[in-house]
Symmetry: C2
Subunit: 260 residues, 2 copies
């Protein structure tokens, strides 16, 4: 039995070594403030590849967002999990998280500056094809990547998962160049239907290339395993919606980056 195990390990080991995802902490500045993000990539992949920005929930850059960056690296992307609060600040207290997110939301210019600073890390990274940039975000991070797209950024494709949905500025919506995918819990009680209608109306009027998916019966945080443990109303993990929305993201990135 020992021999069989040893043979098995010898057979599998090289594969594991080849496909190892590497992570690196990266510290960067926006104005005077220091931010601490995490880069993930598969060092078995050769050459430059698309870079995907990952923006965290309102809790800050926690393990969940980092894990998603690693999963993107497994798919062959370089992923950068941004820090939108500075100093890698995280919390598990909803009130504190709400306050931290609100501070960012208050200043649209600063919000965009932080997102763009993180995107720049990817654009200038030697492993990244700087013309192939994408972004994903969860909850607060969903709004962040949508704001980036709405600003007329050259980011090719963004995906919002249970994001708070910002209403785009109608006067500038024609400048939006990004392919947008909005993955939304159909029973999400945090996002008002009126907001959704306004956002969609402006996108449709302005010829924006967007898709919005309602996942039946799913509520807020549907992609976050263990979300239920916080016992917050209107928050629940949904394995079906998680799996399906991750697949929808892959389809969009495959399309945007001509990947087979």
């Amino acid at each position: 039995m020992k021999i069989v195990c040893a043979l098995f390990v010898l057979a599998v080991l090289p594969t594991l070594c080849v496909a190892a995802v590497k992570t690196e902490n990266i510290t960067y500045k926006v104005g005077d403030k220091t931010y601490k993000g995490m880069l993930a990539y598969d060092d078995a992949v050769k050459g430059k590849r698309p870079g995907i920005l990952v923006v965290h929930e309102f809790w800050g850059l926690n393990d969940y967002a980092k894990k998603r960056a690693e999963k993107l690296a497994e798919l062959g992307y370089v992923a950068f999990a941004a820090d939108m609060y500075g100093d890698g600040k995280v919390t598990e207290h909803p009130k504190e998280a709400g306050k931290m997110a609100a501070e960012v939301r208050m200043n649209q210019e600063e919000w965009l500056a932080r997102a763009n600073a993180a995107l720049k890390i990817l654009r200038e990274h030697p492993l990244v094809d700087g013309k192939k940039l994408g972004g994903i975000g969860y909850c607060f991070g969903g709004s962040t990547v949508l704001n980036l797209a709405n600003s007329g950024s050259d980011i090719a494709a963004v995906v919002s998962f249970h994001g708070a949905l910002p209403i785009p500025d109608e006067a500038n919506a024609k400048k939006i160049k990004t392919k947008i995918l909005i993955c939304h819990g159909a029973a999400d009680s945090f996002i008002k239907e009126d907001t959704v209608q306004k956002m969609r109306g402006i996108y449709d009027k302005s010829g924006v290339d967007y898709q919005m998916v309602y996942y039946g019966c799913a509520v807020h945080s549907f992609t976050v395993p263990g979300a239920d443990s916080k016992e917050l109303p209107g928050i629940r993990y949904d394995a079906n919606a998680d799996r399906r929305s991750w697949a929808a993201m892959q389809s969009l990135f495959n399309e945007a980056f001509n990947k087979k």
Copy 2:
């Protein structure tokens, strides 16, 4: 050059022969009336496989619906393009088409009987695994497959493309067992938002496994090449939405039928 061509043909020919999609006209009865559908399958595929019902637009069983059945056969399914009007009746005149569809819609029981008769052709076909049934439908056909799902049918998964969206009977919605995918033009002027809200509300309340995708800027008939030639208001082909919705359908069927 001729020799090269001949060699090329000889090399390619067997592949073409192996992957030939076969079609068969099938005549069947509902009550006293005769219906003329078309079955499509790839005779290179071995063994029983899932069967997919294809339901036409309000024009009747025209070449477009038949073409979709052939495309499903190319994917390895047995597809049956149903005839919902009898005698294979088709028209190109919107008024006549509207009248024919309205006649079916008027009688919910008869409507379901015709859909179930077509589904029975698949269920009992020697090439079909009768426990793996799905359905797709366009416009009027979209409502038809949704009605089937809403009736508590054992059809595993249905996809509606720019379908008129029926509001399910709330008292029976808990009995719905089907995975539902609704592919909808976000700028479809034929479907009232109020109808969508009511439908989604009942599905969410009843725990129905559904997804609804809004394709940005797409209007009615977005999957139908040449739809624009009819010069009807609110009708237009959209290549992006067509490609994406077809891919979304494949994902759902792969999931429903455990296909890799």
